[in-house]
């Protein structure tokens, strides 16, 4: 853009005002603060090409910049000292800045100096430690590779998987160190284990389920896959922990209490960790202004993944961005169409939606009933113990899992089909289908547990004697644990089998077979939502099952570990990224929200199992109690009286009510604060608009005032910086003050019409 010709003479006034505007704008402090690296490109010609040293190419701009920003900083009392690395300047400038700051530090007192240097040293130490920790992070190289090839949407899935591996490992370590470790080390440290003795009542009969005599090999496999037989009386299940307390020489370790508290602890730990991880995404989602949602801007300026390094991935990203833009344009058209809908059309659409929703509910009810039926059938088959056939036995064992997996496979397809008729906007369609799938997946586990519970507490004649059906389920917790174990194993088998037997052949068929069917089927897409639901489902089972099967977190850790590699291999070889891309930002938030829903749904059965259902009298650590929760009141009653009264006070109504009132007050305060901030943001936005208009108005007036031709002949002398600063700062104020400032600085206006002079006086 030419605002001056090559000899440096100003362009005559007949040129458009717009072309004169920019040199003026360059002088304003707000643009100076942008600290453009090369002012020479916008306003200076290249004739003084001789000044090739680093500082020279900036000339007046840079040093002027420094003086201006230093002046402004002094004006603000220099309270805002951003770290040097966050300034948008060249390295040389940053170095000089840094040296200046260090020199300034020399002028301070010795004490402040020492404090600052220790502060700097600690910061350096922390960064080094951070770097070393980062190199230990699991799968760093793999995830880097995936990011480069597929972008940040799919990356978020894999980092979510890594998070779950860490979470499960932590839960397992908790369980192990507080429940299993005391039992294991007791014999070595002269601890005395008191076991729960059978008290002879009919409730405490626990037949040994280990197989006797000649055991056929495939029965071992059945046992391994179903958790029965030789696995039943091991550390794997609740029933093995028939320990009441471990008496160490120095203290008495109440294992029952530890078991219960660890359960509550791992739920709380998961909750805290998930909330912490989702906090940043939540903040960002809150800032998003729902009224003026910027889908276009977001896609144009923040759409391209700068970390893509692979050519194919680049092509795919481009096509997905293209698709997104087209979808957005389509959405605009649909919005217009929706706004234009007539009354009769609206009624018709609502009627269709109602019918389809009823249909969806009917489908869900059918699925839940089939899960219920399958569970009852499977339980009956296991208890009857008819041994027909190896495969049939296994199928009977796994019937609930099979039905759940089938239901979870069919219903998403159905939902995707139905949503097309409901005529929503594309964005809402995606979310609504997802919600339905989430609901289906997570409630199916609840239905399974409910049907199990109904079996356990159903006795032949009237209410059960021991609170549960002790004839069929002498140790019902172990049975529940076995069901959870089977679900986990089956989930893993299905994921591996689908990858090996469906995705690889699909790729081979699509690549090497040229028939139309193959081309229509197309290559596998890595559908992020479905994959995420799969692993959230697995994690929910883990949370529910850990109370009944303490080794389940370890199994889940290993399972997710292998799933990472299976999915990675499948992704690299078989998949192409989805044409409907899933955004990285909202996806992290979405994953964690779904995980939280899973956690909430998992808490329910666990808490009901602890507090409501009578624990078995024949196995487990809670034999001496009616319900598992009873161990807490009994322990509290044995505590010294001071602590006991404190705990009673904390749990009393007075404390609870006052805590509730305080929480309400805090919530109201925060909501009011948020409302006030929103108002301030709106005000500032309006002010910004007005300031922009003011600026343009002023500059137009300025340019008009420069019209008299005599202005051009007078040579321009470099005016002192301060007056220009004051002009600039006053220029952005409201219009009435313009007149006074303009009349007093007429010479400045003249000067500003020219290009800013070269470096001669300002180096």
């Amino acid at each position: 853009m030419q605002r001056v010709d090559v000899t440096g003479e100003p362009v005559p006034i007949t040129a458009r005002i717009g072309s004169l505007v920019n040199p003026l704008l360059d002088q304003l402090p707000s643009y100076q603060s942008l600290l453009y690296r090369r002012k020479s490109s916008t306003s200076k010609p290249k004739r003084r090409g001789s000044s090739r040293n680093r500082l020279g190419s900036f000339g007046s701009g840079k040093s002027g910049v420094n003086t201006i920003t230093k002046y402004e900083e002094r004006q603000n009392g220099q309270t805002l000292q951003r770290p040097v690395r966050e300034l948008p300047r060249t390295m040389a400038e940053k170095r000089t800045d840094r040296d200046q700051r260090l020199k300034q530090d020399q002028k301070l007192s010795r004490w402040t100096q020492r404090r600052r240097s220790t502060h700097r040293y600690l910061k350096r130490l922390r960064e080094d430690a951070q770097e070393r920790l980062n190199s230990l992070v699991l799968w760093r190289g793999d995830i880097h590779l995936i990011e480069g090839m597929f972008g940040t949407g799919i990356l978020s899935y894999f980092s979510f998987l890594r998070f779950l591996v860490m979470l499960n490992l932590l839960i397992f370590l908790l369980m192990f160190s507080f429940v299993m470790l005391p039992i294991i080390i007791a014999p070595h440290t002269e601890g005395n284990i008191t076991y729960n003795q059978a008290d002879g009542s009919k409730c405490s009969v626990y037949p040994n389920s280990a197989r006797r005599g000649l055991v056929i090999f495939h029965e071992h496999i059945t046992d391994l896959l179903s958790g029965g037989g030789f696995l039943e009386q091991t550390y794997l299940f609740y029933g093995y922990y028939k320990v009441d307390a471990v008496r160490f020489p120095w203290f008495n370790y109440n294992l029952a209490l530890a078991y219960l508290l660890v359960t509550i602890a791992y739920i709380l730990l998961s909750l805290i960790w998930i909330v912490k991880r989702s906090a940043s995404g939540f903040k960002r989602n809150l800032i998003q202004d729902v009224d003026r949602f910027q889908s276009f801007c977001n896609k144009v300026f923040a759409g391209w993944d700068f970390c893509i390094t692979n050519e194919n991935a680049g092509k795919l990203k481009r096509s997905s961005l293209l698709y997104e833009l087209k979808v957005n344009l389509e959405e605009e058209r649909i919005k217009q169409k929706i706004a234009d809908r007539s009354r009769t059309e609206k009624c018709r659409i609502y009627a269709i939606r109602l019918i389809l929703n009823i249909f969806v509910i009917a489908v869900l009810a059918a699925c839940f009933y089939s899960i219920y039926w399958a569970t009852i059938f499977s339980q009956k088959a296991q208890l009857d113990q008819k041994k027909e056939n190896f495969m049939v036995d296994l199928i009977y064992e796994y019937l609930p899992s099979i039905v759940i997996t089938l239901a979870n496979f069919i219903t998403p397809l159905l939902f995707c089909l139905i949503i097309n008729f409901e005529d929503y906007s594309p964005a809402f369609e995606i979310r609504f289908t997802l919600m339905r799938c989430v609901f289906m997946r997570l409630t199916s586990i609840g239905v399974l547990l409910f049907s199990l519970w109904s079996q356990i507490t159903k006795c032949k004649d009237g209410p059960c004697d021991c609170g549960y059906n002790h004839l069929l389920y002498s140790c019902w917790e172990t049975r529940v644990g076995q069901e959870m174990y089977k679900l986990t194993v089956f989930d893993f088998i299905i994921i591996a089998a689908v990858t090996i037997f469906v995705e690889f052949p699909r790729k081979l068929i699509v690549n090497y077979c040229n028939c139309r069917l193959a081309q229509w089927w197309g290559q596998q897409e890595f559908a992020i939502p479905q994959n995420v639901l799969e692993i959230v489902y697995g994690q929910t089972i883990c949370w529910i099952g850990t109370f009944y099967c303490p080794l389940l977190p370890a199994i889940c850790t290993i399972k997710y570990f292998f799933i990472f590699y299976i999915k990675k291999v499948s992704l690299m070889n078989n998949c192409r990224p989805a044409t409907r891309p899933f955004r990285a930002s909202s996806s992290n938030f979405f994953f964690l929200v779904v995980l939280l829903i899973g956690l909430a749904l998992a808490c329910l059965p666990v808490l009901v199992g602890i507090a409501q259902i009578n624990c078995s009298q024949a196995c487990g650590p809670f034999v001496n109690y009616t319900v598992s929760w009873e161990v807490v009141p009994r322990t509290v009653s044995e505590l010294p009286i001071g602590i006991r009264s404190l705990l009673f006070a904390l749990a009393s109504e007075a404390c609870a009510v006052s805590l509730f009132v305080i929480t309400c007050l805090v919530m109201f305060y925060v909501i009011a604060l948020a409302g006030a901030h929103k108002r301030v943001i709106n005000q500032l936005r309006e002010q910004l608009v007005l300031e922009g208009r003011d600026k343009r108005f002023l500059i137009e007036k300025l340019c008009q005032a420069q019209k008299p031709p005599t202005v051009w002949s007078s040579p321009s002398q470099p005016q002192p910086r301060t007056s220009r600063d004051s002009r600039g700062s006053r220029g952005s104020s409201r219009s009435p003050s313009y007149h006074t400032s303009f009349s007093s600085n007429y010479n400045d206006a003249m000067f500003l019409a020219h290009a800013p002079p070269h470096s001669s006086t300002h180096v």
Partner: protein
């Protein structure tokens, strides 16, 4: 450090660590990467700050930048002469501003500079059309491109001058959820 030949003095390391978001190891690694672009040109010993600049053509073929539609603009923005010739300082500066730990404000400033093709402190309609064409490589029809431009300007423009100043851009980016996660280069 255990190196037989020192690449940087300790003061240089300190300066780099203060002025960028990188640690010592990463600075050395960056030097290795810079050197492998032109091994005969770039010396191993940087203790006396040699004034070597690599041209644009070498830099845009780096694997990290190769697939980026804005690679020319990125390198030009961080170069001192505006033509894309980067010294090692500029090179480190570029990757520091674009790295994951860089601050949002810094990234916003540089994003604005990158997308401002004609360098007039505004992202006008032509700048935006160029951006969209680079992103989609001409797959959209000109009417669609104009439509997208108009819609984007309509969404982000606050002061109604039908182009985006830095204030408009900053306000828009602060509400764009994807910006931080997509606007970073991993090296």
């Amino acid at each position: 450090m255990g190196n037989k030949q020192t690449t940087f003095r300790d003061e240089q390391f300190e300066a780099y660590q203060d002025c960028t978001f990188f640690t010592r190891k990463e600075i050395l690694r960056l030097h290795g990467r810079y050197r492998e672009l032109a091994p005969h040109l770039v010396p191993l010993d940087y203790t006396n700050d040699p004034d070597i600049k690599l041209p644009l053509t070498l830099l845009i073929n780096m694997p990290e930048l190769k697939e980026n539609p804005f690679r020319d603009r990125i390198v030009q923005t961080f170069s001192e002469d505006g033509q894309g010739n980067l010294s090692f300082n500029d090179f480190v500066d570029m990757f520091s501003a674009l790295c994951e730990s860089s601050s949002r404000e810094l990234k916003t400033i540089y994003a604005f500079k990158i997308y401002d093709f004609n360098r007039d402190n505004f992202i006008c309609k032509e700048d935006m059309e160029k951006t969209i064409n680079k992103l989609t490589k001409g797959e959209l029809t000109p009417e669609e491109v104009t439509l997208v431009c108009d819609k984007a300007i309509e969404e982000a423009d606050l002061d109604g001058d039908s182009k985006l100043s830095f204030a408009d851009f900053e306000n828009m980016i602060s509400k764009a959820p994807d910006f931080l996660s997509t606007f970073h280069v991993r090296i």
